[in-house]
Amino acid sequence: MLSYLMRRLLLMVLTLGAVSLASFFIISLPPGDYVSTLQAQAESRGEMLDDSVLVALRARYGLDQPFFTQYLKWISNILLYGDFGQAFAWNSRPVADLIWDRVGLSFFLSLSTLLFVWAIAFPIGILSAVRQYSAGDYLATFFGFLGMAVPEFLLALVLMWVGMRYFGQSPGGLFSPEYQDAAWNLGKVLDLAGHLWLPILIIGLSGTAGLIRITRANLLDELYKPYVVAARAKGLPEWKLLVKYPVRMSLSPFFSTVGWLLPGLISGETIISIVMSLPTTGPLLLSGVENQDMYLVGSFILILSTLTVIGTLISDLVLAWWDPRIRHRYQGG
């Protein structure tokens, strides 16, 4: 098990090296750079920037150096000093500051959504499988498909309008105007809670609907297996039987995807965040891409890739802990 872990960690480092190179390559691919974007913006306002200004700007940001020099400078700063470079469009603020500002809320929002989804979807999914073709199952199936079919942004707009029209709530954002820039206190926390449920509901809806369907399908695969009948023949009460055997088995595929949640915690729901003007990381990434803010975007891609790779490792380890068959395969070689 230990040698397996060591091998996986080594592979992880190699993968991340390749990923960082590839992501830096991709963000430097488009013709032009941040300075040419600046120039274009100036031209659209009818101003002309002097060539010497442009050259000076490029030299200041190191944009005139060859690709590998830029990459090495970027990656060594990250590894040695935790310095992700500066975001051009944000008055050269350090990228790390910009991201960390928003990571907290993104993380909190994603985590609450996740817990909401699990709390709703697992019990309904299990019930839906155990009572297959009952009225409750049809109801869950109906709302399941509905939840998957309705675009989130549409739902967001409708609910925001309802909230404003009938409940007098300020649309969008996570805080009422009076708390926007206030320091943290009880009132601000309550205000956040009052605003948070709506994005959680909207973001969680399609996830809930999907997970209900997955839980139901996974469990139906297990529910009539011989080992369930054999366990029933021992005299186990039904609910105990259900939780110990088929539900336990049906969660294996779920655990193999649990690692993908990690990058999701940081990426922030971009579309919903824009529609509802939530201060998460999603809109920041989008604006970075629009402005060719290469260090900002590169850092994002690097962080998300790292989280994906770590998440995959975690999910493999969790699966081994959960399922003895996987565990013994690892030990075998």
């Binding site: 011989p226 009948v229 023949a233 021992k234 186990l236 088995m249 003895p324």
Partner: protein, 341 residues
């Protein structure tokens, strides 16, 4: 049939139907059986004759869309409070009584040991669970008994095996473990549903030997479901032959196999190769095909394939079980109703 203290299971006119979209399958259609203490009863018949469904009905293990639609299944509950003669009817009993019979009074061994145990739990966990369900023992005591049971069914190094998972063991070893699990609470009846079908031939013989010796040690009754007439002859005291969901002939195994009375039993025995028969002799399969599940023949269900078919009688009248020429036999065939009438 009077119930005696010796009866551990009595099935009366059992009907189990599967209501499917295209029609109703009468998987079990009026089975009468009883098993006395310490008796080994083999239930034989072709695939699809309803023997497994009948066995599962006893413990109410039929999954949707199957349903027991009629009859009684009397089993001993042990506390003497349920029903008549200290026996409870599993068909009408509430869930609590059904659970107290499962595993405690009646143990069951299934066809495929590889899929009948959860791969996520150790043998010790799954066998110990059966003990702790029915008896107030501590975890340590249950574990001790599990190891002892595993040793008794011939598993070497039971201490170590108890901590292993089913996928680490061979099919034969797992079937031994399944038997240990079924016997965990000392049931008075063991239902073995084709216990050797999924195993190779040498392992089959070992498992049958084990079942036989355990039966003799404990004095429990065994209902052995099999399609293998050789297995039935080797293991059983009594045999019940099933065709299309009902028992057509029943009696002591030696008598039935030496001198079959029902035309179906005769045909079935003719289809089995015998040692010492002339090598050029051809085996005779049972004539015709098993009828489609939705289209049961009227009258005697066997009449379209029967060599002794009487037109105007067999395709009209449903035969009822009558004593055969020998008092120990019961036969469902109009030929014998004529004689006894």
């Amino acid at each position: 049939m009077a119930a005696s203290d010796e009866t551990v299971l009595r099935i009366e006119d059992l009907h189990t139907h599967f209501e499917l979209d295209d029609g109703v399958v009468h998987a079990v259609d009026g089975v009468d059986l009883d098993i006395r203490r310490g008796e080994v009863l083999a239930v034989v018949g072709e695939s699809g004759c309803g023997k497994s469904v009948m066995a599962r009905s006893v413990l109410r293990l039929i999954d949707r869309p199957g349903r027991i639609t009629g009859g009684h299944i009397w089993v001993r509950t042990g506390d003497g409070t349920e029903g008549t003669d200290g026996m409870a009817d599993m068909v009408t009993a509430d869930a609590r009584v059904v659970r107290s019979v499962r595993g405690k009074r009646v143990g069951m061994v299934f066809q495929e040991p590889m899929t009948s145990m959860s791969p996520m739990h150790t043998l010790g966990n799954q066998i110990g669970e059966a003990i702790m369900l029915h008896e107030s023992v501590t975890k340590a005591e249950a574990r001790e008994r599990t190891v002892e049971l595993l040793g008794r069914v011939g598993i070497s190094a039971p201490e170590r095996r108890a901590d292993e998972y089913p996928f680490q063991m061979s099919g034969g070893m797992l079937q031994r473990a399944m038997i240990a699990m079924a016997l965990a609470c000392g049931p008075e009846l063991l239902i073995a549903d084709e216990p050797t079908t999924a195993l190779d031939v040498t392992t089959q013989a070992q498992i049958l030997d084990l079942l036989r010796s355990l039966q003799q040690d404990t004095g429990m009754a065994v209902m052995l479901i099999t399609h293998d007439l050789g297995v039935a002859a080797q293991m059983a005291d009594e045999v019940a032959v099933m065709y299309l969901g009902s028992v057509v002939e029943r009696g002591p195994v030696a008598e039935v196999f030496r001198e079959p009375r029902h035309p179906y039993t005769k045909a079935l025995l003719r289809s089995v190769p015998k040692l010492g028969s002339r090598s050029r002799e051809r085996l005779q399969p049972v004539r015709g095909m098993v009828p489609h599940a939705y289209r049961r023949p009227p009258g005697c269900p066997f009449h379209p394939r029967c060599d002794e078919f009487i037109a105007g009688r067999c395709d009209v009248t449903v035969p009822s079980p009558v004593p055969g020429p020998e008092p120990s036999r019961v036969v469902s065939c109009l030929l014998y109703e004529e004689v006894s009438a």
